[in-house]
């Protein structure tokens, strides 16, 4: 059968596109590579999750048969360098931390605000905050955000549908630190039910939030909001374990559908009027490249977020086990930092699991094993907190996704090959933010603070973005201001691939807002 639209991927972007199209009466086929997973399928395994994936993770993609190349080295989905994101119905939104930030208005105008550093591909977005404003609001209300007043650095907005989570014990300390420094602060907005909402329960404040599925389904992703809406409409078919290998084209080059492998391992195809890609910045670029679509910019300017994270040891225990755990933030340093390009949001973090603390937060001077290590764990775990946040990355064209000429996946499709390192300005901004985070912890009573030193590397990970950037010039971008691929009037991209830059914030609400906008405009012009 011929569909009106095929949506490839069911994460933050794809789920919303499918819902809006189906509710507008279009016949929609959603092809999701991963499986449908719930709390029972994603164990609370501290060694296999999206925060600690050394031996695997609770979601897809499957460990075997899905290789990538990272700077020439072949890697599996749970290994360093792969830049994995959950592959399942709902994508990353099943297991994310769910911070629901809007980008700052200046995040859309980085080149105008700061100039373009040599060797970078820094550019303004072709749309502005005002263009996304009402779609941010739709994402906040239709997916479901809990939070308080907007930060004073942000434009005013409609209140969220749910009240903010209360401050934790550590947030109260950090609040006192802000007061001392004269910094403004707020509760980070979360796509999590702070109260019973939309027929689902309130958060139980458990200790396993980011990286895990929610035990009471209080975390709002596409899998429990817009995808059910799409299915209820009667206009949407969702095929999971359906892996799209390439896009189909007519002899004239028009996109006519997709070729895919279904859950039984059969090769099949589906045709449609419109195709919407939402596989994440790495897989969308790979699919475009393997389909020989989109021109020379496809796959370039791959970016994510550097994180400026500082550990602090307080005098007295502050661990209260009150999840999700991220509870206070400041937007004092997203912009306006003297001599620095951009900046980022800073916040405390989700509850640090013991094994993560043992492996990632040992300061210099503490031996890596023995009684002294055991004593350190025992004496400091409940006194520890971390603050930090995502740095607005300065992109470079040669940070990129290519397709391998030698390594293929289990279906014979050329694997994604990732290469490049970020621009040095990203590292400079990170160092600046490490100083601010240190300052915050000290003002909040930390006896000791410490952090790692940032170097040049490729950053993509769960916040991957930028590989099919939006722009008006087809020579310098992949999609137009409607996220329609230049030269293809029926091919759209509804994920973070289109981000020109990735903001100094967790990007998911922007992905959602953009998908609302792209799909809304597609329907109106259909």
């Amino acid at each position: 059968m011929k569909y009106d639209a095929i949506v490839v991927g069911s994460g933050a972007g794809g789920g919303i596109a499918a819902c809006l199209l189906a509710e507008a009466g279009k016949k929609v086929l959603v092809l999701e590579k991963g499986r449908e997973l719930g709390f029972a399928d994603v164990p609370r395994d501290h060694l296999r999750n999206h925060r600690f994936a050394k031996y695997g993770h609770g979601t897809g993609p499957e460990i075997d048969g899905n290789p990538r190349l990272f700077n020439g080295r072949q890697v599996r989905p749970h290994e360093g360098g792969y830049q994995n994101n959950a592959s399942c119905v709902g994508g990353g939104t099943l297991v994310y931390g769910a911070q629901a930030w809007r980008f700052h208005p200046l995040d859309f105008r980085m080149a105008t605000t700061y100039g373009v550093p040599d060797g970078s591909s820094l550019a303004d977005w072709p749309i502005q905050y005002e263009d996304l404003e009402r779609y941010y609001e739709r994402a906040e209300w239709e997916i479901g955000v809990a939070g308080g007043e907007p930060a004073p650095q942000m434009p005013p907005r409609r209140p969220y549908p749910m009240p903010a989570f209360p401050h934790t014990t550590k947030a109260k300390k950090l609040k006192a630190g802000c007061d001392k420094l004269g910094w403004t602060y707020q509760t980070p907005p979360l796509l999590i039910n702070s109260v019973d909402h939309a027929g689902r329960k309130a958060c139980t404040h458990c200790q396993h939030c980011v990286g895990f599925a929610c035990p009471v389904d209080a975390k709002n992703g596409t899998q429990n909001t817009v995808i059910p809406r799409a299915l209820v409409s009667g206009n949407c078919v969702l095929e999971s374990k359906a892996y799209v290998t390439r896009l189909l084209k007519s002899r004239g080059g028009k996109v006519t559908g997709v070729s895919y492998v279904n859950e039984r391992g059969e090769r099949c195809s589906a045709s449609s009027e419109v195709v919407v890609l939402a596989c994440g910045a790495i897989e969308t670029a790979r699919l475009m490249l393997n389909s020989r679509l989109g021109g020379p910019m496809v796959g370039t300017s791959l970016q994510g977020h550097y994180y400026a994270i500082v550990a602090g040891i307080m005098r007295d225990p502050i661990w209260d086990g009150d999840g999700p755990g991220v509870s206070i933030s400041t937007l004092e340093f997203n912009h306006g930092n003297p001599g620095i390009i951009g900046g980022g949001m800073m916040a405390d973090d989700f509850i640090t699991l013991p094994v993560g603390y043992a492996m990632n937060f040992r300061p210099s001077g503490v031996p890596s094993w023995g009684q002294a290590h055991k004593d350190w764990m025992r004496e400091t775990y409940r006194r520890f907190m971390q603050v930090g946040g995502p740095i607005h990355e300065i992109p470079k064209v040669d940070c990129r996704v290519n397709v391998s000429t030698s390594v293929r996946d289990r279906w014979g499709v050329p694997a994604a090959s990732l290469s490049g390192t970020t621009h040095p300005e990203t590292v400079r901004t990170t160092k600046f933010m490490l100083e601010r985070a240190t300052e915050w912890l000290k003002a909040s009573g930390a006896e000791r603070t410490y952090h790692g030193e940032p170097g040049l590397h490729l950053s993509a990970g769960q916040h991957q973005a930028g590989t099919c950037r939006m722009g008006t010039d087809p020579a310098a971008s992949v999609v137009d201001v409607d996220c329609r691929v230049h030269g293809h009037d029926n091919l759209f991209i509804a994920d973070s691939s289109v981000h020109v830059t990735n903001g100094g914030f967790n990007p998911v609400l922007t992905i959602m807002a953009l998908s609302f906008r792209t799909t809304d405009r597609l329907i109106k012009s259909w």
Binding site: H46, Y55, Q207, G321, W369
Partner: protein, 126 residues
């Protein structure tokens, strides 16, 4: 792939108990780390690295079985091996994987009764 010999397991038990010694909370082996490691290294194809590494520990124990040395002597052996280019990698590996077992969820088998979590004050409430 051959699994560890009985004597290699004996050495491993003594090694992990210096990585996380017993005090008023369990040692690594009491918490289940040996069984955890035997399973993990098979899964991760690390058996050979462990065989070679553990034989290296014995070779450095000056004719006495490593397990029969005093705790102080055992620490000296491990510290010396941690400084040598050829054995450094193994000491780092076994220390890291022992910690991973001891401090992770009891479901992984090396944090019996959740005692490590009780020790540091981590609680699961929901």
């Amino acid at each position: 792939m051959q699994s560890l010999s009985e004597s290699q397991v004996h050495t491993l038990r003594a090694v992990v108990d210096r990585i996380i010694p017993k005090d008023d909370y369990p040692s690594a082996s009491e918490a289940g780390c040996v069984e955890f490691l035997l399973h993990l290294i098979e899964q991760e194809s690390l058996v050979d690295s462990y065989r070679i590494g553990l034989d290296g520990v014995e070779a450095y124990s000056h004719g006495t079985a490593f397990a029969d040395l005093s705790a102080h002597q055992q620490d000296e052996v491990l510290e010396s091996l941690a400084k040598k280019p050829r054995s450094r990698k193994f000491i780092t590996l076994v220390a890291r994987q022992t910690m991973e077992g001891y401090y992770s969820d009891p479901g992984n088998g090396a944090n019996r009764g959740g005692r490590a979590w009780e020790m540091i004050g981590f609680k699961v409430t929901a």
